[in-house]
Amino acid sequence: MSRDRRTDAESFEAQAIPMFASLYNFAHWLTRNREEAEDLVQETYLKALKGFVSFQQGTNFRAWMYRILRNTFLTSRSGLSVKMTVPLDREEDAVGLAADTPEAVLLARADQQMVQGALERLPVQFREVILLCDMEEMSYQEIAGIVGIPIGTVMSRLSRARKSIRELLAEKVRGASK
């Protein structure tokens, strides 16, 4: 019995520790606060360790960890306030919008800090999807599973997030060149 428990904890450790820095980074982007991010990651690890016995080996461990983190975030202080704010526009409207800015010029002028600023200004529903896709390089299917939304909504949120970032960058670049 204790041997099983030990093996479980070791197997959990081997899989969960390598993703510690990425999970923390994602948590910090969600909470935008170091203390809350630490609480969130700690709770995630405790919940995951406890629930690891029910985790089906061979399925997507990384997506499972991110799902726990995200669900834990939704019950946290800043997560609860996020739940109250629903984007007003219909998400589906944004799919496939063409960029109307001369992008190569725009992006060449934007720096990392500007992109970080733009990411910060995105509503968390969009920020989480674009970070999971672009930063964590997860598939639409994985993101849909983590966030609990249909793939179509993943695509529309991504599209909207990118459009907002482009607009925010354009605003910044124009502001900086004035």
Partner: protein, 250 residues
Amino acid sequence: MTCDWVPKLDLYVDGELFDGELTEMEAHLRACPTCAADALSRLQLKRMTQAAGRRFSPRPEFRLKIAQSINAAKRPPWARRWAPALAAAAALVLVLVPAAVWLQHLRSGQALGELADLHVSTLASANPVDVVSSDRHTVKPWFQGKLPFTFNLPEMQTSPFKLIGGRLTYFQQSPGAQLLFEVGKHQISVFIFQNRAELSGLNSGSSLSRKLAFNTETWAEGGLWYFVLGDASPSDVHDLSELLRSADRS
């Protein structure tokens, strides 16, 4: 007029197009400069988001806290259930044999003081190390034939630590390796000896402590005994120890 392929450009950039669709898209991009430019700028934005997103790093103390909580779960339930009783028993033993403990403590202090002296005299020397190199593949082989054991050195490139070199040293009549590392302006000595019963007594179970105002960390692994000492911050001493331990496990 917007090209029919535009709605699929994000899917292309995100690697969500497969087989036939992917081939068709690639053929289209070769033929349509507008879509090709659009795809390129989307890819550019994706790369920028990726780089900008990697922004926050956890504190080393927090990393340690999480590692410890996972480690605690590895202990069998009886160990945790009996922990208070064991602690009480341990306290009783400490009360019954204070003299032995005190003697051991004195001996430990003396021995660790000797290592601190070695560190200080090394730094004071005009030639602190016998093999001067920041390359672990130079420093490690230098000890070949000079020591009755071998050890692993970690890859330092991505860490704030720089290997300065190494020298042969003696402690309690046994040969060992002394490696010198630099972090910022601080220098840290890492002593490696074959583990013996006398040294195990000095082993504070990988704990970080302060000896003569130096920060130190000590542990035993794979038949070797490690002692890390320097005037750098406790977290630097700990991080370097972690690096060395990871090299030993790899």
